[in-house]
């Protein structure tokens, strides 16, 4: 077991790669009642097309999410219930590129950890339970599709991407989940839920060696990850559609815009890029800019205005949005400011302050057990770790930020999705 002390943030990381290929990361936190365990697979909604032993396989949209729901079924009962009985608060989620099962607990941690490893490693599906789950997931899809925030986001992704499966809803559709059988679930589990395609993170007042022993007891020797995912025909550099819109019963327009970018391939370059991207957007239109206060004062943005650097399986986009009376104006103003900075250069004093704030924010993140687990799992899958964010942030240069703005915040690569409030019938008269 390796031990690394990160002086800047006052945290220690214990890590070990087991014989079967599974990597385990433990961060001890003294004096806390709760402990957190996070067991993740490098497999998500976008991984629906893969090649295994020379054969091509396509599985229905929404299967990774469906699989996540069904994993809780075990021969001896339902893991959600069993974990709750142990006093744990379990949960799980599926995104476009990761599936994670986790729990937080203040007691019976060892028992709960064993159960977590067991239920995620053991596929148990009956056609009957698959059929029943279709009802529940069908309801979930309906509820999600009901949500205008989800709609504006999905519309943006369809506007940005012509082919890439990141444009498909994580839960799939009512139709696509109808095609899922116990057999396809088992095949996906066997293909992707293999130890060297997974990671376990534990944060809490635990003894690292004890945790490692428990994990070694529970895990089976596994096969190696040998499937290779493919993501459709090459995605063109340009966006698919510049502008898409829809209507819902909402009180004010909702918008989401995105710059389609080429992302760094992985590892530390990707970790760094994420920090530079965030800094770049902040310097253009973040809360500390004159542009932000002007737009806020004019009433064209409000506290919902937010942004994110989104990457998934080779795609990358700088996404921003929120509620706005005039989404097109917001987008034009952001773009104009990006172009102005690209031409005139940025405010060095502002960058200095933003870096200080970003350092503070990164140190802050190590207070959250969930954030540490999620950040470490995703960093590990990229080939890096999540414990050097303050240093990486301090290293960001003016040139890097300017380069991002010049090359990536480009009008031609921008797509805009808006959901407008439904017009009242009275307006027609």
């Amino acid at each position: 077991m390796e031990r690394q002390y990160f002086d800047r943030i006052g945290e220690t990381l214990y890590s070990e790669r087991l014989e079967n290929g599974l990597s385990v990361f433990i961060v001890p936190k003294r004096g806390f009642s709760k402990a957190y365990a996070f067991f993740a697979v490098n497999y998500g909604a976008a991984d629906t097309h893969y090649i295994l032993d020379g054969q091509e396989h396509r599985v229905p949209d929404g299967i990774a999410h469906f699989l996540e729901h069904k994993m809780f079924d075990m021969e001896r009962g339902n893991a959600l219930q069993l974990l709750s009985e142990l006093g744990a608060q379990p949960n799980a989620f599926t995104s476009t590129d990761i599936t994670a099962y986790y729990f937080e607990t203040t007691e019976n941690f060892d028992e709960s950890l064993k159960l977590l490893i067991e239920f995620v490693s053991t596929p148990y599906f009956t056609q009957e339970s698959v059929d029943k789950e279709q009802g529940i997931i069908g309801q979930e899809i309906a509820m999600v599709e009901n949500n205008p925030n989800w709609q504006v986001y999905m519309d943006l992704y369809r506007a940005l991407y012509a082919n890439h499966p990141v444009r498909v809803a994580v839960a799939g559709t009512q139709e696509s989940i109808g095609e899922i059988t116990a057999d396809t679930l088992t095949r996906c589990h066997n293909t992707f839920y293999v130890p060297d395609n997974m990671v376990l993170c534990v944060v809490g007042d635990v003894v690292p060696e004890n945790i490692a022993d428990i994990v070694k007891e529970c895990v089976h020797s596994g096969s190696r990850m040998s499937a290779e995912c493919v993501y459709g025909p090459d995605e063109p550099e340009d966006v698919c559609e510049r502008f898409v819109s829809g209507e819902r019963e909402i009180s004010m327009p909702l918008f989401m815009a995105g710059y389609k970018c080429k992302g760094a391939p992985g590892g530390w370059a990707a970790m760094k890029e994420e920090l530079v991207a965030d800094m770049a957007f902040q310097i253009v239109a973040g809360g500390s800019t004159k542009l932000y206060s002007d737009m806020y004062a004019e009433g064209i943005i409000n506290d919902s205005f937010d942004w994110n650097w989104e990457t998934c399986r080779g795609t990358a986009a700088m996404v921003f949005g929120g509620e706005s009376r005039d989404p097109k104006k917001v987008v034009e103003r952001v773009q104009a400011e990006a172009e102005r900075i690209a031409a005139e250069g940025l405010d060095a004093e502002l960058l200095r302050r933003l870096k200080k704030a970003a350092v503070g924010k990164s140190i802050r993140s190590y207070d959250s057990f969930e954030a540490i687990c999620y950040a470490q799992a995703t960093a590990y899958f990229k080939g890096a770790d999540c414990f050097r964010l303050p240093e990486l942030t301090e290293e960001i240069t003016e040139e890097e930020v300017l380069e991002f703005i010049r090359e990536k915040m480009v009008w031609d690569k921008l797509a805009l999705s808006v959901i407008y409030p439904k017009k009242e019938e009275q307006d027609e008269r």
Binding site: S33, E107, K356
Partner: protein, 422 residues
């Protein structure tokens, strides 16, 4: 366990202090306690938002944001909470603990900024800056209007408005649009001047600084606070009517939402509170609750079915997302689950699972400064003074009979059905 201290640092100004070295950040909040009133609710909600827009020294958002960035990304946000029939009006702040950065006076600087925001706002001609008041007012109105976007929340609010029509609890924490529209820079300033010296103030600090350093910083920052008699705050509870009400309305969403209001005379101020809270957890407060296991899992009637205990008011509300045609089935099943509890049909595992879940939550509360703050604020409002450990011990001793008794006290008041398009 953390060694908390509660101290009145000035007349009517209370500090709850929790020393801790476990966190990278320090937490400080300040809340003025106000009675929830129709006329004042919107003004109270708007006030911290306007104060947040500028201080005399830093008169606009850009300057405030720059200051916060310079304080290593300190966060300072307006917070207005409704606890029963009390509005808690103020700010919350988190900032990096001194020991991780070069600036060793972060605590003093942040406290000073909070004090200025509260006591030295940006003004012009003896009132708030019109531009700030108008733009925040418009945003408040938008927030009031946007409740309709979240069908679940909208349904719940409509239920409360109907169920508590003659009680203060029906007043939204944001007030109403008509009252919000009436707010001007001078009216809001008059209101501010009225309440700043006449409200009990609750302050909370959690971090690694010594208490004297915290009280010194606060005494300096709050020195200009006007003195005066403090307006009392309280919540009045009521029983269920002889005949329950059944209401409905329509919406364009695909899914339908059901909200069911129940009354229980036991609130957080009552010595039987732990039993009532546990009863709610067994009923619909967790993933192993009767509502989740039966209405959701067994019958697949809905994607979510849960109950919330509004502990200051003695109200339990069931919230569920269903298909329109399942209204009768879902309502019957939900009420059947309550009836079952009243008849004593609670399995040991259901009780223990709920108990362990609540205890786990309380332990988790002690791991989060924000959650601790909310816990202590709820207690302070009711004149209670105990820590999460105490509540854990009480919960450990609640018997099944006590839970059944709490279920028997629970009576149906109002049902609200928000019909979707499907």
């Amino acid at each position: 366990m953390d060694n908390r201290i509660r101290r009145e640092i000035m007349p009517g100004v209370f500090l709850t202090y929790i020393p801790s070295e476990r966190f990278k950040t320090c937490y400080m909040s300040i809340s003025l306690l106000r009675p929830l009133e129709k006329g004042a609710a919107a003004r109270n909600n708007l006030l911290p938002r306007v104060l947040d827009r500028g201080t005399a020294q830093l008169p606009d958002m850009e300057q405030i944001a720059a200051r916060l960035d310079d304080l290593y990304g300190a966060r300072l946000v307006p917070v207005v909470r409704k606890k029963g029939e009390v509005q808690c009006v103020g700010f919350a702040s988190t900032f990096i603990d001194d020991r991780f950065v070069d600036d060793k006076e972060l605590l003093e600087k942040v406290t000073e900024l909070i004090g200025q925001m509260l006591l030295a706002p940006a003004t012009v001609g003896g009132r708030f800056i019109n531009e700030y008041v108008e733009s925040e007012r418009e945003k408040l109105i938008e927030d009031i209007r946007s409740v309709v976007n979240d069908k679940r929340r909208f349904c719940l609010n409509e239920l409360v408005k109907a169920m508590c029509i003659n009680e203060k609890f029906s007043i939204s924490n944001m007030g109403t649009e008509p009252y919000a529209k009436l707010i001007t820079g001078s009216r809001l300033f008059r209101h501010y001047a009225e309440i700043i010296g006449s409200s009990t103030i609750e302050i909370f600090y959690c971090g690694s600084a010594e208490i004297e350093r915290v009280t010194d910083a606060l005494e300096q920052a709050l020195a200009p606070l006007p003195q005066g008699e403090k307006t009392p705050v309280h919540t009045i509870n009521r029983g269920a009517p002889a005949k329950p009400k059944f209401l409905s309305s329509e919406t364009d969403g695909k899914q339908s939402n059901l909200a069911i209001g129940l009354r229980n005379p036991v609130s957080i101020a009552d010595v039987r509170y732990p039993a009532a809270a546990l009863m709610n957890s067994v009923f619909g407060g967790s993933a192993t609750s009767k509502l989740f296991m039966n209405v959701r899992e067994k019958l697949s009637l809905c994607y979510y079915a849960s109950s919330s205990y509004f502990k200051h008011k003695g109200i339990i509300i069931v919230s569920s997302g269903i298909e329109k045609d399942n209204y009768d089935k879902a309502l019957d099943e939900i009420l059947a689950q309550l009836k079952a509890m009243q008849n004593g049909e609670i399995e040991d595992w259901e009780l223990e699972s709920a108990r362990q879940g609540m205890i786990g939550s309380l332990r988790a509360t002690m791991d989060s400064p924000g959650m601790m703050e909310d816990f202590y604020l709820s207690r302070a409002i009711e004149g209670l003074d105990y820590d999460p450990d105490y509540l854990i011990r009480r919960l450990e001793n609640v018997t099944k009979d006590e839970v059944i008794e709490m279920a028997q006290y629970t009576a149906l008041d109002t049902v609200y059905f928000l019909k979707g398009m499907d």
